[in-house]
Amino acid sequence: MTAPRTIYDKIWDAHVVDQQEDGTCLLYIDRHLVHEVTSPQAFEGLRMSGRTVRAPKRTLCVADHNVPTEGRARGIENPESRLQVETLEANAKEFGVEYLEMLDIRQGVVHIVGPEQGFTLPGTTIVCGDSHTSTHGAFGSLAHGIGTSEVEHVLSTQTLIQSKAKNMLIQVDGELPDHVTAKDIILAIIGKIGTAGGTGYVMEYAGEAIRSLSIEGRMTVCNMSIEGGARAGLIAPDEKTFEYFKGRPRSPKGADWDKAVAYWRTLPSDEGAHYDKIIKLDASDLPPLVTWGTSPENVISIEGNVPDPKDITDAAKKAAVERSLAYMGLEANTPMTEIKIDRAFIGSCTNGRIEDIREVAKLVKGRKVSDHVSAMVVPGSGLVKAQAEEEGLDKILIEAGFDWREPGCSMCLAMNDDKLKDGERCASTSNRNFEGRQGRGGRTHLVSPEMAAAAAIAGHFVDVRDFD
């Protein structure tokens, strides 16, 4: 009998092609997602060494970071952005790999597109030259971001050189209160363990609160595993997962489907499996959270105040808080609900799915965005956009004063025209509040979609639980 294993152990074991004496492994990669920003130099590397793409069918290309979210049919105005997108298209053609072009309804943020197409599947290994590849762990696939040299390595060998990470269990028990969401769970975890807390680990999320989340919510949680420093996040697949994949374009069909589901059922961690670290959290007493600083670990309850550096003894941490507050233009001890915003951004691979847009539409229906706020909703993919429009959500949003955009990364990282101006403050559903992330001098507060929508209406942060 083999020792009990975690889901990470199982997927890892099933993909080892070769192991060296020092433990370094060659890991087989089932799926490779490619976007325009981190791939040109990888394809160039292949060309220079006369190599090819080993398994074109295991590779899917889509442009998302640079694409405009307005007037897309006119093409991309910025010459550098245009060149990057055209380069991806040309590379895909040259190397015989599928490319979803900008006007294709299936186009969108790479981490939303993969699952929608059934390209992502439980039990598979998935990589992409993008740190938020951790999103796909929501389906019980081992998924993580890689650098461009590794993109080239995967393109030409369909493998990755890896050492195994440690196992961390994050047990989230209890039932989430109303208006407290998957986003608040993951922000709470990062607040608790810190942005380096998961370094060297793969995090597995378990417990009642995780099981009760929708697939979309699970994606939000796994998405930000990287903000906790983890290599990947994982949630064991269950009936919800199988239901999600049934009938997707690239999902297994017929007898293969039954065989696949039978295999997927063997993936959850065994009773008694070993974890190197266990973190516990009770979801039932979580408030809606907001970040106040320039690191995703700078989380605080909406009922709280901006922290005071005076209360911090560690010199390096104190300096970090002072630097953050100066950048964010915030005074210590200000109640979070008194902080006014200029912009609201709803979208990204963290919160750009249909469920997120439904929640926002429900909350803003019949209300108006505050006069001094400019708010936008950017669906995560063309399919999400079409679904939202079919449900009439776009009308509700537009009526309330939101901009309704075309799909892409947009102001999550502001590589296209969607950016904050110097000093502008934004309630954002994305995943990073780093200095300059949403535009030079821009100030980002990470929140859930409902909290962003409520702030857009009120003109300042509000506790969505009392928002009537």
């Binding site: 060296q20 020092d22 370094t24 060659l26 087989y28 089932d30 920003v37 981190t38 040109p40 130099q41 160039e44 590397g45 060494s49 190599r51 080993r54 970071h65 550098e80 060149l83 990057q84 599947l121 039990g123 740190s131 993580h144 890689i146 650098g147 461009t148 040299s149 590794e150 080239e152 390595h153 030409s156 060998t157 369909q158 493998t159 050189i161 050492s163 990470a165 942005t195 380096a196 370094t199 420093g229 983890a230 290599r231 297994p252 293969d256 065989k259 696949a260 295999y263 690191s295 941490k317 300096a319 970090a320 630097r323 990282l413 502001a414 590589m415 990073r432 200095e435 300059g436 030079r440």
Partner: protein
């Protein structure tokens, strides 16, 4: 890739926690389709004003540190985006060694692929090297990968850990893809097995 053996150089102090890859190379420079030329934009928003003028206080703008080859930085260096543009920019500037108490996983990997040695040390050692670095050009630090030792300006020696395989690749300047392709037979065998056991995968 060039072989890495030993670096004798000036170490620049960057005592900031959680230096993320957006700080190292902001997104406006990710639109390139080349690997080179990013050094001038390393730490761009900390290094230049909006009009492109140098900010004299920033460490790499100070005369003593303009040719720094070593960075000593706060905890969790390289967190955030997977962009390899970060190590490309560091390498292009001339940085060969980064010392911190910890590194983010993807960034750590990316360094080795670009001939940069990231060294994680206990807090006390990083504090000592940070002090040395603050002394500027008069205090060069020497990093020897073969013996896995850092020699400070006052003769102190600090040992460091590095994974044996990664050390070998750095020392020899080896290309990972070439190495892996030597194992093609194993990859073929794996794929044949997979086609039978999980035809959908």
């Amino acid at each position: 890739m060039d072989k890495f053996e030993k670096v004798d150089g000036v170490a620049a102090p960057l005592p900031i926690l959680n230096i993320d890859t957006d700080m190292i190379i902001p997104k406006q420079f990710l639109k390139t389709i080349k690997r080179t030329g990013l050094g001038v934009n390393l730490f761009d928003e900390m290094r230049y004003t909006k009009d492109g003028a140098e900010i004299p206080e920033f460490v790499l703008n100070q005369p003593a540190y303009r040719n720094a080859q070593i960075l000593v930085a706060g905890d969790n260096f390289g967190c955030g985006s997977s962009r390899e543009h970060a190590p490309w920019a560091l390498a292009d500037f001339g940085i060969k060694v980064i010392i911190s108490t910890s590194f983010a996983d993807i960034f750590y990997n990316n360094c080795f692929k670009n001939g940069i040695l990231p060294i994680a040390l206990p807090q006390a050692d990083v504090d000592k090297l940070m002090e040395d670095a603050e002394r500027g050009a008069n205090a060069t630090v020497s990093v020897d990968l073969v013996s896995q030792e850092i020699h400070g300006p006052d003769g102190g020696v600090i040992k460091f850990e590095v994974d044996a395989f990664r050390k070998h690749c750095l020392l020899e300047g080896l290309d990972d893809v070439g190495l892996t392709l030597q194992k093609e037979a194993s990859i073929n065998a794996f794929e044949e097995k997979l086609a039978v056991s999980q035809p959908w995968a």
